[in-house]
């Protein structure tokens, strides 16, 4: 972004007090109003794409998983689907159904985590505590199924590592009943609490046209009425057999983004129940060669934050030629940078949370620039408190 030297610039340092991953934003402000925004990622840049080129196809499963702790399964799935495409193998339906089940559980986890985090940004710590406590239920289920609360490593090249037994299915049903009840409560809070609505309605509004033009994806786009969802547009795994409905909203504001995510949680709960009740029989894996045939494949899946795209190139050997990961958050950054302009500084924490930024997917601190007094360093906590105080 070009800097206007008459504006203030305040940087906020990368050491982040709580909750967030480090990143760097720059906001140019004129009084209260944001006039320009830029982003400086890199605190979480580990060199994974390069690292993938020296690891075998199987080793990369574990590397890709750890791009992000919150969307780990969906990364591994996108990678696996791309490799299986290149290998030309057909994965047994039971394996794909289990992959989908894990993906939807992960989506519930991610949305509830975001609910707490976004609430915390606005000062609603009670909601943060409640949703994170309830989120433990999803993590318990994931742990019962896979053995780990985070990084479940469900995928193998060609299938899945574990099965869903009838006992597990009963546990999952019980957990889902609880989660559904809790999410009904959250929906009620989000749609009726006046303070909450005051801080989220008409904030960061993106019209349908703007969302289309900016190429927005995920719940952010859907909250602006853009019915874009890879699970429906380009079904993968068993999304044809167990489809989901695209949840959209028309308000296009931060409030709408809350509502879309909670509705998506209900859809996830519904589809998991369906998978459990109609699980396809059969094998869990199929054989995939160690050397993957040469070629290029594009793999697209719907992560909790939006479209995740993997481009995988093979040179016919045991190791990939190229693995390119385009995460949804990188795409969503552009929307934030454009939307921030004209808004108040106090709205920035909620706006940034609204796209559910996954910094590890992209790799925070904030630079705030005001005229020629040079950069002031603000911690994220300070910006957050600023926002809360402003609206008190």
């Amino acid at each position: 972004m070009t800097a206007d030297t008459n504006k203030f610039v305040i940087p906020i340092g990368p050491q982040h007090p709580a909750l967030k991953e480090p990143a760097n934003f720059e906001f140019w402000v004129d009084g209260e109003i944001v006039t320009g925004a830029s982003v400086r990622l890199g605190y979480v840049h580990r060199g994974i794409e390069k690292g993938a080129e020296v690891r075998t196809w199987t080793q990369n499963l574990y590397l890709m998983e750890r791009i992000c702790g919150i969307c780990s399964h969906v990364h591994a799935t996108a990678y696996t689907l791309g490799v299986e495409k290149l290998a030309g193998v057909e994965v047994p339906p039971r394996a794909n159904a289990i992959r989908q089940l894990m993906a939807e559980l992960e989506r519930i986890h991610s949305h509830m985590l975001w609910l707490g985090v976004a609430a915390h940004e606005g000062g609603f710590d009670t909601l943060f505590m409640y949703s994170w406590r309830d989120r433990e239920t999803v993590m318990d289920l994931l742990e019962k199924i896979s053995g780990n609360k985070v990084h479940y490593s469900a995928n193998l090249l060609g299938g899945v590592k574990f099965d869903i037994t009838p006992e597990l299915a009963t546990e999952v049903h019980k957990g889902l009943d609880f989660l559904e009840e809790r999410n009904r409560f959250y929906l009620k809070v989000v749609t009726t609490d006046e303070t909450f609505i005051g801080r989220t309605r008409d904030i960061g509004t993106m019209t349908t046209e703007k969302a289309e033009f900016l190429g927005a994806i995920g719940p952010t786009a859907r909250a602006s009425g853009v019915a874009r969802d890879i699970r429906v547009d380009a079904p993968y795994l068993t999304y044809e057999q167990f489809p989901v409905k695209v949840m959209t909203h028309t308000s296009g504001d931060l409030h709408g983004r809350f509502i879309v995510r909670i509705h998506e949680t209900f859809e996830s709960i519904r589809v998991i129940r369906e998978i459990l009740d109609h699980m396809p029989q059969g094998d869990l894996t199929t054989r995939v060669p160690r050397r993957i045939p040469a070629g290029e494949a594009v793999s697209r899946v719907e992560a909790p934050r939006g479209e995740l795209l993997y481009f995988i190139a093979s040179n016919g050997s045991e190791k990939p030629e190229r693995v390119k990961v385009r995460t949804p958050s990188l795409c969503n950054w552009s929307t934030v940078l454009s939307l921030a302009i004209g808004l108040k500084l106090a709205d920035m924490p909620m706006l940034l949370s609204g796209i559910d930024p996954c910094f590890s997917c992209n790799d925070r601190s904030i630079s705030l620039k005001r005229g020629q007094q040079g950069a002031q360093v603000w911690s994220w906590e300070k910006l957050r408190q600023y926002g809360i105080e402003y609206y008190r």
């Binding site: 990368p14 982040h16 007090p17 605190y43 979480v44 580990r46 060199g47 609360k149 910094f359 590890s360």
Partner: protein, 182 residues
């Protein structure tokens, strides 16, 4: 907390009180040096009602200048390295470091990648390593407890030895932990 040395028996009392205060209410600061968030989520989960680590007096707050303990995750990316050093330097003595997660131990699954330093102990003196990818909240709380136990005894945590076979309620780690300080 500045330690003044008094030439009297009051010094002993002062040290005991300071230690008691630190042990019963250590103030911690959390730093993510480039992790995938898995460990950070588990650390934050310790604050939530199921684990509720604040009832032990552990307080997670935002300023390095008020912190006794640095809880650090991540494989230390090049960009985060300076910020991590600065944070550590701003902390007053005595200060302690807990490295959480496989990345903090050795870079974890990213070991060898061009943009990371590797284990946190490449950069800072680490007192406690909590292994796992990610470790459970219970494991993290245990790690803090190990640190506090050592503080109570008035010293830094020492490498633990295998006693060979049998579970006797004490966590043992391989002797490889000693090699890590190299």
């Amino acid at each position: 907390m500045v330690q003044q040395t008094l030439n009297s028996s009051w010094q002993g009392v002062l040290t005991k009180v300071t230690n008691w205060a630190r042990i019963n209410s250590p103030w911690a600061i959390h730093f993510n040096s480039g992790s995938c968030n898995g460990c950070d989520i588990q650390i934050l989960a310790t604050l939530t009602p199921r684990y509720d680590v604040e009832r032990f007096g552990i307080k997670l707050q935002g300023s390095p200048r008020h912190a006794d303990v640095l809880i650090c995750t991540g494989p230390v990316t090049m960009q985060a390295r300076d910020a991590l050093l600065r944070t550590y330097e701003q902390m007053p003595e005595p200060k302690f470091v807990i490295a959480v997660g496989s990345c903090g131990l050795s870079g974890g699954v990213f070991h060898g990648c061009y943009n990371i330093v590797g284990g946190i102990n490449e950069l800072l003196p680490v007192d406690v390593f909590v292994p796992g990818c990610p470790p459970r909240p219970e494991g993290i709380i245990y790690g803090v407890a190990v640190l506090l136990q050592a503080l109570k005894a008035g010293k830094r945590p020492e490498p633990i030895q295998w006693s060979g076979g049998g579970l006797d309620g004490v966590l043992h780690s391989g002797s490889g932990l000693e090699d890590h300080h190299g």
